[in-house]
Amino acid sequence: MQVESPMRDRDRAIDIARTVPDAPSHELADYEDVSFVLRSRDFAPIRAESGNGAQWHTLIIRDAIIDLAGDEHFERRRLLSGLFKRAVLLQEYEQDYLVPALDELEVMLREAAVGSAPGLDLVPAVRKLMLRVIARLVGLDGLDGDEARYAAFERVMRLVEHGARSKFVANKEEVVTQALVAQAELVDDYFRPAWAARSATVRAVAEGSLPPGALKNDLITLMVQHEPHYRAFGEDAVYREASLLLIASVGSTTNAICFAIWDLAQWLKRHLQDQARRLDLDFLRRCFAESLRLGQTNPILRTADADVRLPSGLEIAAGDVISINRRKANAILAADGHSDIGDTEFDPHRQLSRNVAQYGLAFGGGGHMCIGRDFAIGPTRGVSDLESEYLGVGVRMFVRFEQWGVEPDPDYVPVWDKDLTQRPTWQTLPVTFSALQGPA
């Protein structure tokens, strides 16, 4: 079933989405089955025509990398990988941007501390840092120092994010319709000016009037340079790719940082001997990964392209939908498959006996493993120098907050955002920083 471009013909696209029936679906949590599905070329990202909610959320991200399969996915992944060179991520996004932004926040917090530890609500603070750093990676301009513009951007992004997660809500049509309107606003107010500016720079470099160094390492520059590739998917593919990069990183990383801080705080209450390791980078990275394993609950959806028998013996028919329950699969993984329930307790000393990463399926797996994994958590080995090495933006913020002596407000009880996503999403996390009393 061909769905019209939602950017150009929103009403028609929504009319079509209303008519899509659900294909049979199977929920998987067995690690062997999950691993098989993620690696198999017989399973592709869920398609709009498979129903099960995909007819709605794919309107926001269709033809972005997460929506592609086979050769198209390979070509896109190869192209986008150029954005994620470690040396560039370290210098341009961590050292030149995030670290100074955290320094600024530290100064502000110290100035605000009068006789007691300063505090703030961590969720909007981290979200703001993430939105700005990701906007920079995408290439959207003017979000630093202009609070009104940032507030408008944040409002629009919230609606687009809700649309992309519409598979969790009952009123999908309403949420996605709002998201499409917001996405059009995102394009007009933020994307188009940036596209025009980057196009001019790319032209000037090609003509020799600007040096190659004038080109920025951002998504829009890259898409301008590879415009024929994107245009082959339609006029709007560039907008949806930019939307995806924003959607996929901001909420998940904000959530992960809040989970890690909460999980570690609860752990340290019961394991006082680990207090001394609180500034140990290796320990903190293990904490972040362990927390990621437990905190990822949104399912990964796939459509079967062929009749397949899974390792467990489950028969899947071509066209069926697979929903991978990551929370359960990750928990069973930690229990080495010996329990159907698994281990949902946070334990930073956990040694997973299978040869898998400690973050489990937090970044998916196989060919569609999250392209922003390094951006979020950095390399998984070989980092020892806290100040100069590349940690990933999520780990960098987590480590910094721990250095500041972050403590969740003892009176606060977490409230999960179950209205929109049915996943634990932090709406608020009041914290104090015990190490920030007085000037540095």
Binding site: R39, S81, F84, K85, R86, G366, G367, M369, R373
Partner: protein
């Protein structure tokens, strides 16, 4: 420069072999990749770097004397 493939994390996407067939081959069973010889000459270093960067699971490991360099 030396190149190796982490056999455990390799997800058999075949991306590396498509980008640099001179440097990688896929096993007949399971499709996991392996490096065809470890040393990479200057002519192929750029392709080796692209293969490492494009590998979805980060299984292509380059060694230029710095273990964090990819």
């Amino acid at each position: 420069m030396k190149v190796t493939v982490d056999k455990i994390s390799c997800a058999a996407t075949g991306f590396c072999a498509r980008i640099a067939p001179e440097l990688f081959e896929l096993s007949d069973t399971g499709g996991r990749a392996r490096a065809v010889g470890q040393a990479v000459g200057p002519r192929l270093q750029e392709l080796a770097e692209e293969a490492a960067l494009s590998c979805p699971t980060g299984s292509v490991v380059l060694d230029r004397g710095e273990d964090h360099d990819r």
